[in-house]
Amino acid sequence: MGDYKFAKTKLAEVIGAMSDYQVVAPVESGEVVRFAVVDDPAKVTLEFSNTNVPPKELMFPETETLFRFRLGGTDLEPEVPDAAARRAVFGIRPCDAMAYTIVEKLYNWDFPDPYFNNRREATTLVGYACAEPCANCFCPSLGGGPGSEKGLDSIAFDLGDTMYLKTLTDKGEELVKALGGVLESAGEAEARAAAKQVEEAEGKIRRSIDTEGIAEHLPELYGHPFWEQFSDRCLSCGICTFLCPTCHCFDIQDESEGLDARRARMWDTCMFSEYSLHASGHNPRPTRKERTCNRVSHKYSFFPTNFDAIACVGCGRCINYCPVNIDLLDILEKSKQADAKEAQDA
């Protein structure tokens, strides 16, 4: 596809030129950078390693209405997003974009989910390659990388003074066309510089995991005492899962205002004890041990068994933000040393 570039100083102008689209980009608000609909192109920032809250919320919002109704009535008014609407996401990191390619498998088995699918359909993703990976990035171990193109429609590279933009799909090319003449065409030099930057960035990644055999081994470790060295300090909070770009669990609740009501879904997490609690009081995952085991096993075993893809992109958020240093890679390494026989004894 095409190669383009623009001067970094013209970022606001480029964003402004996307007026045919609803533009979503990283914006600073209350000292944190988060993806938001851009009302003022000047507010868009590229000064972030990655956002605290992943852009999974762009396809799967924290809270979203499924349908509306009147209390006492039976008519349902579905609130399905328009697949034909045009939305451009600028500045998404490759790991977060790759996450969409993983969770969309789940959103499409047996019953396609129109909410996720339509949002995805409506969206053109402009990636933003990483030049400076964080301390806990390990994307190459999971098939991604600082310049990974998976799930993206185009990808931008910060080459110092210029931004180099490479389109990858028709959708990406369409967005460039809609920009009019704001972009210049780029050539070999930029492509080479970008490739070099990606290679250097990959070299800076300090953590990794060999995923070989983990999917088969983890289910054998249910109940194994080794989980306790992590679960004993787990707070049962939702940080690791809410901030995970591939965690997709949700709760559904009905809310009303007067007689107007809606059924909505909102992020939920397997780390809360209420998550699997039956109305009878029985809880199949009664302690943090079972819940920790379930979270890790779901990502690295159950999901790959069902979908042939690990539900992790190596963004490192769960490690970075865990308040008690429960380190996913540490768990996985220790799991390799754990003997399945001891799980049966326990």
Binding site: T63, E64, T65, R68, E79, E257, D260, R262
Partner: protein, 144 residues
Amino acid sequence: MSAEEFEPNIVAFLCNWCSYAGADLAGTSRTQYLPNVKIIRVMCSGRVNPLFLVNALQQGADGVLISGCHPGDCHYMEGNYYARRRYTLMHKLLEHVGVDPGRVNMSWVSASEGAKFKDVVEDTVTKAKEAGPMEQFRRRRINW
């Protein structure tokens, strides 16, 4: 809506033994108090959970009034003392979040103080009018 037209919604939690009887007395002695107030009778001001108050503000109240027996007169001996501590603090907390201090009010109204009840309601309404409609964290069907 201009300030003159704005008629605030006041939710009043009145204790069964004093303030509710006080409001009743105002009624039977034909002392008219402002109709902005919606009364919820509770057994004691000490029974009022601070969540009642926050929830009222969330669901459309522009001001809240909690009223109980005078100190020393509580039917349950000490319920109003607990309530006093609680709401003195809650008032401070809400103020810190940016809720206008005039929205949270507390008073002691005995069964014989029908006229005082009228004044208390008037004060509460005036303060809520000054504060204007409660918009801050009211449930507004955001993203519905």
